[in-house]
């Protein structure tokens, strides 16, 4: 049935995340962006929220709550409302952990999941993106070749979140015509990790380029073991996650532009009272709403085990276009002030462009 009704628990989670975003993320967002750095205490504080561990089965040390992409969409939106960069940093390990929980063998779960449930949770990330023009997530150039019982990985991955600290990466690679994900430990022989990349947006997110030069892995490194895993499904989780982040960013822009437009007077009138500005704000609201419902549709498909290829594609594509447009309009409503780093909108404008081209940074 068609229902937009979050559960009571989801309402509680939304409120808690919103409080955290408002009190812990928003106030430090600018300084993190300027310094291209996230304060370590902030990550520790975020870890206490149990974003990852809550939905990991008790058998592996987690909270045992059911996996809920819908709840995670709500969480991602609220955190990204505070700051999209910090939200991605906080949620990146979840993308790794949920992929292992969803697709891993018992052995892989036992080895990897408890790390996310300790007081100082593990840091890990998915490596989807590659530094080539017209990158397509389902046509990676990174490849795995069988060798004995194991595999040899070669290729380059970029924009890998938490590249400076992650203990493990989940590297997406072509394997014998299909797609697979491989658990690559940080200290694997042949793996080189760059200094943090310098990017247009999400500057505070320490992201790295991984160069895999004939990295030899045991057979057990293949996620899902002999059966492999459904990389398209992982991609759908990631696309929906990114869409949720972009909904949060869109809302932040709108909620910033509204009071500004009411305060700013031109020709004896608040600029918000002029239709050219007011209608723009209306459209920003309309598109934020539409993007959220598309995101929830994808999240619901994922949650109920249905094919989400189409809905996740739609959510991400629409979110990328509209989030960029909304951030762009936010800058325009603020005029010259939108261009000045005193206000957050120029940062959001950069972040929107960056988020719109990513895959695999966060997941629901």
């Amino acid at each position: 049935m068609i229902s937009f009704q979050p559960t009571e628990e989801q309402e509680v989670v939304r409120e808690a995340m919103h409080d955290f975003a408002r009190s812990a993320l928003r106030p430090v967002a600018r300084e993190c962006d300027e310094a291209s750095k996230i304060p370590e205490p902030l990550l520790a504080q975020a870890a206490e929220l149990g974003l990852v561990s809550t939905q990991i089965p008790e058998a592996f040390g987690g909270g045992g709550e059911p996996r809920s992409p819908i709840t995670n969409a709500i969480v991602a939106e609220e955190l990204a409302w505070g700051d999209a960069t910090l939200a991605v940093a906080v949620l990146a390990p979840a993308a790794f952990a949920f992929a292992v929980a969803d697709h891993g063998t018992e052995e892989q779960k036992r080895a990897l999941l408890p790390g996310f449930c300790s007081d100082t949770p593990a840091s890990a990330a998915i490596a989807f993106v590659e530094p080539i023009p017209t990158f397509d997530a389902l046509l990676p150039r990174t490849k795995a070749e069988p060798k004995g019982q194991g595999f040899v990985l070669s290729g380059v991955k970029s924009f890998v979140p938490l590249g400076d600290r992650a203990s493990h990466f989940l590297v997406i690679a072509r394997n014998n015509g299909g797609l697979d994900a491989f658990v690559v430990p940080r200290d694997a022989e042949g793996l080189q990790i760059s200094q943090p990349e310098k990017n247009l947006g999400l500057r505070a997110l320490p992201s790295g380029t991984l160069t895999l030069e004939r990295v030899e892995l045991p057979g057990s490194a293949r996620l899902g073991g002999a059966a492999g895993c459904d990389v398209r499904r992982m991609l759908a989780h990631s696309r929906a996650g990114l869409a949720a982040v972009m909904v949060g960013l869109s809302r932040a822009v709108l909620e910033y532009a509204v009071p500004y437009a009411k305060d700013r007077v031109a020709f004896d009138q608040a600029i918000a009272q002029k239709q050219s500005i007011a209608f723009r704000l209306a459209d920003m609201h309309i598109e934020t709403e539409a993007t959220r419902w598309l995101t929830w549709t994808a999240a619901a498909d994922l949650e109920h085990g249905r094919d989400a290829t189409r809905s996740a594609h739609q959510a991400r594509a629409y979110a990328a276009e509209k989030c960029m447009w909304i951030a762009d309009q936010g800058v325009q409503v603020l005029g010259g002030h939108g261009f000045i780093r005193e206000h957050p909108v120029e940062m959001w404008y950069r972040n929107a462009r960056t988020l719109g081209v990513l895959e695999g940074t966060v997941a629901l």
Binding site: Q5, A282, A300
Partner: protein
């Protein structure tokens, strides 16, 4: 629990309606080209299909709400054709939606069986209904109506009408009330029928009221008091839009979906498949374009369902009605324009219905409040502005 998947029962109802709609589609071109012929109340094939009420029987907690379903049902019907439906049925007019939203239980019981049109626009006023000049004066136990109305959708075929008139011109918007008037009431004349770009099988009428007397109890909602300016009394009248806006959005949506389905089939027959998994870089330009239009369709659909779902929950949906109308009004234009562009010259051929859908959907962004009016309402809500502060 958040979900957007239809229940089995929902799907069954909509599936049957689509079979019916396809039969209605056979007649779509005929009534488009013969603008002044009315499609019959029931097509000859209707008896082959189950009755709608029968279809809707036995719904439970796991099925979508009635407001949501009425949007999906409407879209499924117009997917066949906007105005040729298997059964036009009684009670399906815009005035009926207004009656359900604002009528007293007695009024609903009495008037719901009739097909009711909605008469708001006048030669001198459209988007700003506070300028309504049609007047209603109480004389004993009767209201006496005088004035002209234009652009009354299904105004010829309707058996009655919900008409907006002022009971006190000096009171501005607060003086505006809606009245139920039955066809055949002396002093109520259907003046003429418009010729239009699209939705030609649906007639659009002009009305003249000249000393038209109706019972006092025909004031919709029954409240004769005149609210003070900005006291919100006008909102009762405006409430009628909270269902009609999602409804006309759903009407446009069904046709946009038909356009997308036609385009997808044509692309497939040309050997061009539509694939969601990969990025835009690996897709032919037409496919990328098509995917965008499909996503736009989904986005509009969800805003409509949101507005209807809120109504089902008994929650205010004034803002969401405007959001869905603004979104859908623009989306269905872009979708049908885009489908024609994708298909090229065959898209404009009258051999196919695509050019008709392109014409038919254009009204979506105009009637029941233009896109501009919807943005105004949306912006006022966002900004916390009154009508005076933003207009």
């Amino acid at each position: 629990m958040i979900d957007f998947e239809l229940s089995e029962k929902d799907r069954e109802v909509l599936g049957k309606l689509r079979e019916e709609a396809l039969v209605a589609r056979r007649y779509a071109r005929y009534y488009d080209e013969n603008e002044h012929e009315f499609p019959p109340d029931e097509l000859p094939e209707a008896s082959q299909f189950p009755d709608f009420m029968q279809l809707m029987a036995g719904r439970g907690k796991g099925d979508s709400g009635m407001g949501v379903m009425s949007m999906l049902v409407t879209a499924a019907q117009t997917w066949g054709d906007y105005s040729v439906r298997m059964r036009r049925g009684k009670g399906g007019g815009l005035g009926n939606a207004a009656l359900r939203a604002a009528g007293t239980p007695e009024q609903i019981a009495k008037w719901q069986p009739l097909t009711l049109a909605m008469a708001i626009t006048e030669p001198g006023c459209g988007s700003d209904p506070s300028r309504v000049q049609t007047s209603a004066v109480l004389d004993g136990d009767e209201w006496v109506l005088n004035g002209e109305k234009i652009f009354v959708t299904t105004g010829c075929r309707a058996e009655g009408v919900v008409v907006w008139a002022t009971i006190d011109k000096s009171a501005g918007r607060g003086g505006i009330k809606s009245f139920l008037v039955e066809k055949g009431t002396p002093g109520f004349v259907v003046a003429h029928k418009e010729k239009k770009l699209g939705i030609r099988a649906d007639d659009t009428a002009a009305y003249v009221f000249k000393d038209c007397r109706i019972p006092r109890s025909n004031l919709l909602g029954g409240d004769e008091s005149i609210p003070k300016e900005n006291s919100g009394g006008f909102k009762d009248v405006m409430k009628t839009f909270n269902m009609t806006r999602p409804l006309v959005s759903a009407i446009g949506l069904g046709m946009a979906e038909a356009a997308l389905d036609f385009t997808r089939d044509q692309l497939a027959s040309a050997g061009i498949g539509v694939e969601y998994g990969s990025g835009m870089h690996g897709q032919p330009a037409v496919v990328e374009r098509f995917l965008r239009l499909e996503t736009l369709y989904e986005a509009a659909r969800l805003t409509i369902l949101r507005a209807a779902w809120l109504a089902d929950k008994g929650k205010p949906n004034n803002l969401e009605s405007s959001v869905c109308k603004a979104k859908t009004g623009a989306a269905v234009r872009e979708i049908t324009q885009g489908c024609i562009e994708i298909l090229g010259p065959m898209g404009v051929s009258r051999e196919h219905l695509l050019e008709k859908w392109f014409r038919d959907v254009r009204i979506t962004d105009i009637y029941e409040g233009t896109g501009e009016i919807q943005r105004m309402i949306t912006a006022r809500a966002l900004l916390g502005y009154t009508r005076k502060e933003l207009n």
